[in-house]
Amino acid sequence: MNILSLFVLIPVLTCIGIVFTKNMKQTRLVSAIGMSIQLILAGLLVYLYLAERQAGNMAEMLFTYDALWFPTLNIHYTVGVDGISVAMIALTGIVVFAGIFASWKMEFLSREFFISLILLATGVFGFFISLDLFTMFLFYEIAVIPMYLLIGIWGSGPKEYSAMKLTLMLMGGSALLMVGLLGIYFYSAPDGGQLTWNLLEISKINIPIEMQRFLFPFTFIGFGILGALFPFHTWSPDGHASAPTAVSMLHAGVLMKLGGYGAFRVAIFLMPEAAQEQAWIFLILTSISVVYGAFGAIWQKDLKYINAYSSVSHCGLVLFAVLMMNQTAFNGAIIQMISHGLMTALFFALIGMIYGRTHTRMINEMGGLMKVMPFLGVVYVIAGLASLGLPGLSGFVAEMTIFFGAYQHTDTFHRILTIMATTSIVVTAVYILRVVGILLLGPIKNDHFLHLDDAKWYERLSTITLVVAIAAIGIAPLWLSDMINVSLAPIVNKISMAGFEFTSLF
């Protein structure tokens, strides 16, 4: 059994196990065991991966496994990982683990809830291990559809509207994606050989430039919608705000990363010429995402909306960095995905816990919570500081690398956009500190809040896991960026071979 296939198999087995449970306690126990195994497996994968690289195995993808599925269309089940996907898998493992414990008290239809949640995770894991575009697309859609039920059944606020909006917009995205992927497939053998869905094989050939011009926008926007690309980001604030805690965590933390990862792995890697030609359009859009998301967050009063808009801004930064197309920026993009995944999951977990106690998410109705729930308060401050890019935490490393990479472009166009994007750091500081000030400090506004208790053991477990990961990246970013850098080499090579000079446009 290939170790990567286990990442799909274990969640599926967990789901089957949950079907046979009798009550909520058993259900959450089975889920917790399943996802703990998954987390350990993710840790093991990181270890094995590093060991393999130490031993000098420099293959582009490791632990590969290939099985023919639909012979006539040459569809394979092909899995394999490089440093980037290992990092994403580790992130997913951590967030799903934390998500299970954050929904420890889910009483309404708990079996169905955990099954949908773990099914979503299956899709995400499957997406990150796939090397075959068909399988990748299959898992992508598997990850999207449980969201409808998760938000629609267990959500809050205008949940039905948000769930429908989110599902339809993401499925509209996959409509674009479908065209892009089919086009890539039918041009994967320009000299008349066997057509293929295999990512690595396609990367070795050059798709004709006229087709790239046509297919790149489809593929990039298709993934970009999931990565909250302006103006297709509107599903994100509503969806995140209505979703139950664990779902917001998983969705903002992991699912949105599918967009960034796909845009990078499929759109840019396979069609570098068109990417370089058209990057300027999307760079403008992502810069708008970054700045607009940050300003949007300032205006919000609902904690979840604040965090949802901040996600738009941070995920915009991922796409922004991906489009800069140099080694440093790519590196920053990957670290930003991981960093944002962890801290936004932490934020949503905390918001869920605070909401569970105060029964309100409006910041102006709360105040002085630090006094009654010091643990949650302190963790909230840590998450906030990571989000605004304080050195020593993951956010700083990510954003620093991105802006370094972006600034390597010497032309005016990139400079201006980079400077615009950097302003988001300041704006982020404004809304984070404002929330911390109103929410945690100051007088307690409501007597009812005096009797609230601090975090329970499962809540502590959930948050501490995430805090440790955030701090680990912040303090020792080098092992992560080393792991990523090796794997970036083939992608950067392919782009430099494309040899399109951006400045020639101006």
């Binding site: 639909f70 409808y148 429908m164 339809l168 509209g172 479908m178 065209v179 086009g183």
Partner: protein
């Protein structure tokens, strides 16, 4: 010929058995019919005998045998699912007619698919249509059902007329009605194009493509639910099979004409079907319009004009049979037990009937083309064939339409899982036959997609066509 002979034999056995049964024993006809038909279905999968009969009027190939098997599976599921309804008191004195009529239309479809000339094709088509009208009017004491029967027979007569006019032009311009002759003699002379257009319009009536779809919703709504499901999967599937066969074998010279034609018609069909389905509250009308939209997707496979296109059409019809029968099965089980047929009645169904709701959800996802269920694979392969001929924008429009259709399929899921009501449909238990039918379609939805051999098998059968 084996399929036809054994089905005729079954119909005759049922007629004779029905004569010998006393009125109180009438329900025994049901297990007899179901068992015989199951045997017939299984026998159909034996290696097919190939060849031609009646001087080329009748052809049998492995591919055609496979098409008949696909239809058989669908009919078997429908028979199982109609148990509760057929056992009702009002149907007691006409039980065997239900089976005999259904089998006779199926025989007509067999001959239609197997036809080697336009005469046999037309005979098969009419043999299939007339008992179908009788089936639509099966519960003739209900005005709506009688109305459905009349509507069906009138619109079929009209469409047959148009089709026959096309056929007569074809004969007039080529001097032959044999497919093989016509294929060779056909060119793109204006009259021949016109003849083809008349022929195509007649077929478009049968598959209910826009703008020839107007009869569909009323007939579907008026007919008994199991007959409706027969119309929407079997009749539509058979008509799609013969259309794709004739387009590829007979009118291949006109490929540039019919590709443009299919392009426009498929977009119209998907869009109109979807827009009307959005507003439906009655489950039967809802499924009727959704099946119009699905027919638009089938055209995407045909447009490729290649082995891949043929395969994807047959494969999609197979998947569509399972998915749509899953949905119809649930609607029929609920209507038979409670008489409720509106989407609003489904509120909170999951809390009282979780298994039915899960099957309905799977069916809805499969119809919408969401993985991991079979519908995703079916749609994906249709889109792949369209893209293989370079129709990327058509694929894009189609997937957008699939997204629109997801909206109304999710409305059903929403009703069952999310909406709350004080008076949900009470918990009920279907009889074993109905359950078997539901389980069969559920299994199909889950298995057919992942099981790549099904697709490969059909692909290898389609090889002889080119």
């Amino acid at each position: 010929m084996r399929h036809e002979l054994s089905l005729v034999a079954i119909a005759l056995i049922l007629l004779v058995t029905d004569l010998m049964l006393k009125p109180s024993q009438k329900p025994r006809i049901i297990p007899v019919a179901v068992v015989l038909f199951s045997i017939h279905t299984i026998l159909g999968f034996l290696p097919a005998c190939e060849g031609i009969l009646f001087g080329g009027m009748f052809r049998a190939t492995a591919l055609i045998g496979m098409m008949k098997n696909v239809l058989n599976v669908g009919v078997l599921i429908i028979l199982l699912q109609s148990y509760t309804w057929i056992m009702k008191e009002e149907n007691r004195d006409k039980m065997s007619e239900y089976f005999i009529l259904m089998f006779s239309t199926l025989i007509g479809m067999y001959f239609m698919i197997s036809s080697g000339d336009f005469l046999m094709f037309y005979l098969g088509l009419e043999t299939a249509t007339i008992p179908m009208a009788a089936l639509a009017a099966y519960t003739h004491h209900q005005t709506k059902s009688a109305e459905a029967g009349v509507k069906l027979i009138l619109s079929s007569a009209l469409s047959s007329g148009i089709l026959l006019f096309g056929l007569s032009l074809i004969y007039g311009s080529t001097g032959s009605i044999y497919f093989s002759d016509v294929a060779q003699l056909y060119s793109n002379a204006p009259m021949q194009v016109l003849a083809f257009l008349f022929f195509f319009s007649g077929m478009a009536f049968k598959i209910s493509l826009v703008p020839f779809h107007l009869w569909t919703a009323d007939v579907y709504e008026g007919s008994p639910i199991n007959v409706t499901s027969y119309f929407s999967v079997i009749s539509k599937g058979a008509a799609s099979f013969i259309l794709v066969l004739i387009l590829y074998k007979v009118f291949f010279q006109l490929v540039y004409v019919w590709q443009d034609l299919l392009y426009i018609i498929s977009i119209l069909t998907m869009v109109v079907g979807n827009l009307f389905a959005l507003r439906q509250k009655n489950m039967k009308r809802f499924l009727a319009f959704s099946s119009i939209a699905q027919a638009g997707f089938i055209l995407l496979g045909m447009i490729a004009g290649s082995q891949m296109g043929m395969t994807s059409v047959i494969y999609f019809v197979l998947v569509y049979i399972f998915s749509n029968l899953g949905a119809f099965g649930v609607v029929s089980a609920i209507e038979a037990s409670t008489g409720k047929i509106n989407m609003g009645d489904y509120d909170g169904l999951y809390h009282t009937n979780p298994k039915l709701s899960l099957l309905m959800m799977l069916a809805m996802f499969s119809l919408a083309g969401i993985p991991p269920v079979a519908g995703f694979f079916g749609k994906f392969f249709l889109f792949t064939s369209a893209a293989s001929a370079g129709y990327y924008w058509l694929v894009f429009i189609a997937v957008l339409n699939a997204t629109i259709s997801l909206y109304y399929y999710l409305m059903v899921v929403k009703a069952m899982f999310i909406n709350k009501t004080d008076t949900p449909i009470a918990k009920f238990r279907s009889d074993n036959m109905t359950r078997a039918g539901l389980i069969l379609s559920g299994l199909g939805i889950l298995v057919v997609g992942f099981w790549a051999q099904v697709y490969e098998f059909i692909f290898n059968l389609s090889v002889g066509l080119f």
